[in-house]
Homo-oligomer: 196 residues x 2
């Protein structure tokens, strides 16, 4: 059973990378097989639900990875600003290492498939819910009020997603860093606003 699980897991990992770089439609099952080194013909054995099942599993894996990224960043942070800085460093390192190919694991699929594919859209939304919850948990632990923590978490998610689009088009980390720097400038101001 270990080998079967390994093979399935490697295919999910390969699909994550391919969906992230070029999206759902441009990724063929044969690309996933080749990238993962799995035997040809094994994909329907591991994913009887076809490409949609693979996309669903990939989306769940993406949520795990994003949560890990938030916790990893938080482990070297001590306040909201250093959390944003640490998250940005992780993201930029991946972006640069991939030659500006590798942004968010699910954003490309969201824009290709949501809301037409209802089942996958619900899975995409769960990723953002888990991402928001992880951010809010750390922000609250540093004393940020509940309402501010949710507002700041949503702003962080939107800015990271959008800044990755700008940086992929520019083939440079510059728009990403410029935007993160501006986001950081706003944090103190946001937290100081009275909550309703």
């Amino acid at each position: 059973m270990a080998r079967r699980t390994d093979s399935r897991s490697r295919m999910i990992h390969a699909a994550c990378e391919l969906f992230r770089e070029r999206g759902y439609y441009a990724t063929a099952f044969s690309d996933v097989v080749e990238e993962s080194g799995a035997p040809r013909g094994s994909i329907y054995f591991h994913f009887p639900g076809g490409k949609q099942e693979l996309a669903r599993e990939t989306t769940a894996r993406a949520a795990d990875e994003i949560e890990d990224m938030v916790h990893q960043a938080a482990s070297r942070a001590h306040d909201p600003v250093s959390l944003i800085q640490a998250l940005a460093e992780i993201q930029v390192q991946r972006l640069e290492a991939s030659g500006y190919c590798s942004g968010c694991a699910i954003a490309t699929m969201v824009l290709e498939l949501a809301p037409q594919d209802e089942e996958l859209s619900a899975e995409f939304d769960k990723v953002f819910t888990r991402w928001r919850t992880a951010l809010v948990g750390h922000l609250r632990s540093w004393g940020v009020g509940a309402q501010h923590a949710v507002a700041l978490a949503d702003l962080i998610m939107a800015v990271f997603e959008g800044a990755l689009v700008l940086s992929r088009a520019a083939r440079s980390s510059e728009p990403f860093w410029n935007t993160i720097k501006t986001l950081i400038t706003t944090v103190g101001c946001l937290i100081a606003e009275p909550q309703q």
Copy 2:
């Protein structure tokens, strides 16, 4: 010549809508022909460079549309906050009218094709440059300093792009409005920061 131009223009318009809703790869030439009502077989007459030429023309059209949107929003605004509010109203109206299918005209293509397709990536980057320039022009006209105007323009673009990703996944305008509301809270604070 008028008919030829009309037909080509209708095909670009149809491609804009389809690339916006589902991306580059899931849009076949036959979909563009059907959506535009153009005669079958006419696409290679109008676009001898094939789908890449169509994508290039669509991207240029998207830049025109985004500039128009900024000027239209600015015409009913009197400061940075009311500009962001007006831009968001236009965007949400489109998003809701399309059943959350229709976000940014180029974001899906950027995530599918950049930076692998160098020619199109350069065109995508030009769209963001024109968008930034239009925003900066209006912000400066209301007395925002040069450095702040560029920083705020980049933040606005990133937030709009990212908030559209969140809202398409959620099939709701709520994440979009929450994020815009938070962005608006930050504007006064950003502009008040001393420039370097």
